[in-house]
Each structure stands twice: as structure tokens, then as C-alpha cells.
């Protein structure tokens, strides 16, 4: 098994972590550090990091607390607004999907019948005969539906 330093390192680090300066370590630990190369190395690295941290903290360009608070408030409001609008967005998307699906299904199922009507505009299955071209009426209705859908989509897009 590879050596991973001295067993006392954890105790020394804990003491240093409590804010104790290396030279203020308890008697036995201080005597140990004086005789243990690994622990002495630990103290040296600790000192190096502490000095570096102090320098960095002194020069740290942190923004004002109020600025960060304001940003957090904005983010929180945005998140709350999104949460409140989410069910409606889902309902809108579902309605669009269902509407589109129904229209597609109608077109697919009515295609053969529509083609027949286009070939024989004045006849209808059965005995009824219309006095005006039925195909024109259906095509116009479909076009109006499509235009309305496009208008609705544009309105949704414009709102977003």
C-alpha cells in the first residue's frame, strides 16, 4: 500500500481549520510537527495558501450586496412568472396539436370523397343534388379554416 502522508495530518488540519495558528498548536502536535517532514510540509503549504487567500480576498472585486440581492429578486420574479404561465402554455400547445391533428385527419379521410366531388361537382352520394358547386364551398371553408389558424398562430407568436 502506498504511503499517504502522516496519520496526524488530519488532526493538524482540523486544528488549523478551527482557526488555530500553526505556531499555536498544542504541545504534542507542535513537537510532532518539528520532527515529521510530512506534517512540516503540510504546515508550509497551509501557510502558502493562507497568504494567497488573504491577498486574493483583499483584492477581490466583489459587487455590492444590494446589487446581488436585486439580481436574485429579478430572477425569483421571473421564475415565479414562468411557473404561473406554464399550465397555460401547455394548454395552448396541446390545443394547437389537437387542432392540427383533427384538421389533418379530416383532410386525409375526406380526400377521396373530395376528389370525387371535384370530378362530378353537381352530384352527391345518394339522391340529393345541390344547386351550387359543393366542392367550391368545401375548399373555401378549408381555406378560411387555414387562414384562421394562421392568424391564431401569428397572434400567439406576437404575444410571446
Amino acid at each position: 500500500m502506498k504511503q499517504i502522508g502522516c496519520a496526524n495530518e488530519v488532526r493538524i488540519l482540523e486544528a488549523l481549520g478551527r482557526g488555530l495558528a500553526p505556531e499555536a498548536l498544542e504541545g504534542p502536535l507542535r513537537r510532532h510537527v518539528a520532527s515529521c517532514a510530512s506534517c512540516a510540509e503540510l504546515i508550509s503549504v497551509y501557510n502558502l495558501f493562507q497568504r494567497d487567500s488573504e491577498q486574493l480576498c483583499a483584492a477581490a472585486p466583489v459587487p455590492e450586496a444590494g446589487c446581488v440581492w436585486w439580481r436574485a429578486t429579478l430572477a425569483s420574479r421571473r421564475a415565479a412568472a414562468e411557473r404561473a404561465l406554464r399550465p397555460i402554455m401547455i394548454a395552448e400547445k396541446a390545443a394547437l396539436a389537437v387542432g392540427g391533428g383533427v384538421l389533418m385527419a379530416l383532410l386525409v379521410f375526406a380526400a377521396p370523397w373530395l376528389a370525387r366531388q371535384l370530378d362530378h361537382p353537381n352530384t352527391f352520394p345518394g339522391t340529393v343534388v345541390y344547386s351550387f358547386p359543393l366542392a367550391s364551398l368545401i375548399v373555401t371553408s378549408l381555406l378560411i379554416c387555414l387562414l384562421l389558424m394562421a392568424g391564431a398562430l401569428y397572434t400567439l407568436w406576437a404575444e410571446k
Partner: protein, 197 residues
């Protein structure tokens, strides 16, 4: 009908916008916490990322995320640890997205230490240069252990690794750092730190 529902929801959203109660603490408590931790957190982010501009961004993001917590820690020490954990996660996310966009190995890539507008931030110290050559995980471990004085358990909680793994990894990272710093600089390290106030 949808338009009416949307109008109602917008009213609800506007009401939600008016509420600031959803933040984890009041402004005064936040100010106290911020004054105690912001510089330490910035130093951690700057040293581990090697990029002060990124540290600026992530610092604010850390506090925003902390304030949006549903159940924030109540004790001061836990709050600080939690902030460091958020910072660590943000750094990890940043590196993941960087790796996705540039497949080159970023772990040992040169870090943009000179890119910051604040010229007096002493990032290019011996320690800074040596840390920049270590892996991000090693930088995190070393900083948390030696600059923050975190215990192995706290380091494990912050970095998301097992407590038992911290000691060997920390030992190896320290050896690697000392090898990078070299003997001449090591003599400068002998100077003891001032007693903690």
C-alpha cells in the same frame, strides 16, 4: 377561452412578480452573509477556475441560487459550506459545457489568468501558476483544505466525493503542487502565518 385563461394567468404572474417572499432570507440577513463569504467565495472561484471574469459571473449566480432555495441551511457554517457546494457545481457545469463545445482537454489547458480588467488581483503568483497546471479537482481539494481549512468531511460534501477518498487525493495533489512550485519557492513557504484573529 384560452385568451381569458391567459389573461387570468398573467394576472397571477404579475402578483407572483410582486412577491419577494420566495427568497430564502431577508435582505439584512443576506447582507451579513454576503459580507462574510463573498470574498472567500470569489477567491475560491478565481483560483479553481483560473479565470477572474468567470469568478465574477459565477459568484452572483451562486448567491442567486442560494436565495432561491426552498429550505436554506440555518447555521452560518452550513450556509458557507452550501455556498461552496453551489460554486463547485457551477464550476463543474461550466467545464462540462466547455468540454462539449471544445473537445480539447481543458483540465491542463492554459488558464486565462491575464484576461481580467482588475490588474491588482494577484492571480499570477507562484502558487497561482502552479495551481493552473493541476487538474480542477486537485485545485478544489487543495483550496478547500488549505485556504478554507475545511475538514475531509466538509471537502467530501462540497466536492461530491467519498470522505475516505479525500485524504489520498489531497496528499497526491499536495505532492504534485510542491513538485511544480519547486525548491526555491519552497523556502519562501517556511514563513509562518500570522495568528488567526
Amino acid at each position: 377561452m384560452l385568451t381569458r385563461a391567459r389573461a387570468l394567468a398573467k394576472g397571477e404572474a404579475a402578483r407572483a412578480e410582486g412577491e419577494v417572499k420566495s427568497l430564502a432570507m431577508d435582505e439584512e440577513s443576506f447582507r451579513v452573509l454576503y459580507e462574510r463569504t463573498a470574498r472567500l467565495l470569489w477567491a475560491y472561484l478565481a483560483r479553481v477556475s483560473g479565470n477572474p471574469a468567470l469568478a465574477d459571473d459565477l459568484l452572483q449566480e451562486c448567491y442567486c441560487r442560494f436565495l432561491s432555495l426552498a429550505n436554506p441551511p440555518q447555521e452560518e457554517a452550513h450556509r458557507k459550506n452550501y455556498l461552496f457546494r453551489i460554486a463547485t457545481n457551477l464550476l463543474r457545469d461550466h467545464w462540462r459545457s466547455e468540454r462539449k463545445h471544445s473537445p480539447a482537454n481543458i483540465e491542463t489547458a492554459d488558464l486565462p489568468l491575464e484576461d481580467h480588467a482588475v490588474a491588482n488581483v494577484p492571480l499570477r503568483s507562484d502558487l497561482g501558476r502552479a495551481l493552473a497546471q493541476l487538474k480542477p479537482k486537485e485545485r478544489q481539494l487543495l483550496w478547500l483544505a488549505y485556504a478554507e481549512g475545511a475538514s475531509h468531511k466538509e471537502i467530501a460534501a462540497t466536492s461530491g466525493m467519498k470522505t475516505a477518498s479525500v485524504r489520498p487525493l489531497l496528499f497526491r495533489a499536495r505532492k504534485k503542487l510542491l513538485a511544480l512550485i519547486g525548491g526555491s519557492s519552497r523556502d519562501n513557504m517556511r514563513e509562518p502565518r500570522k495568528a488567526a484573529s
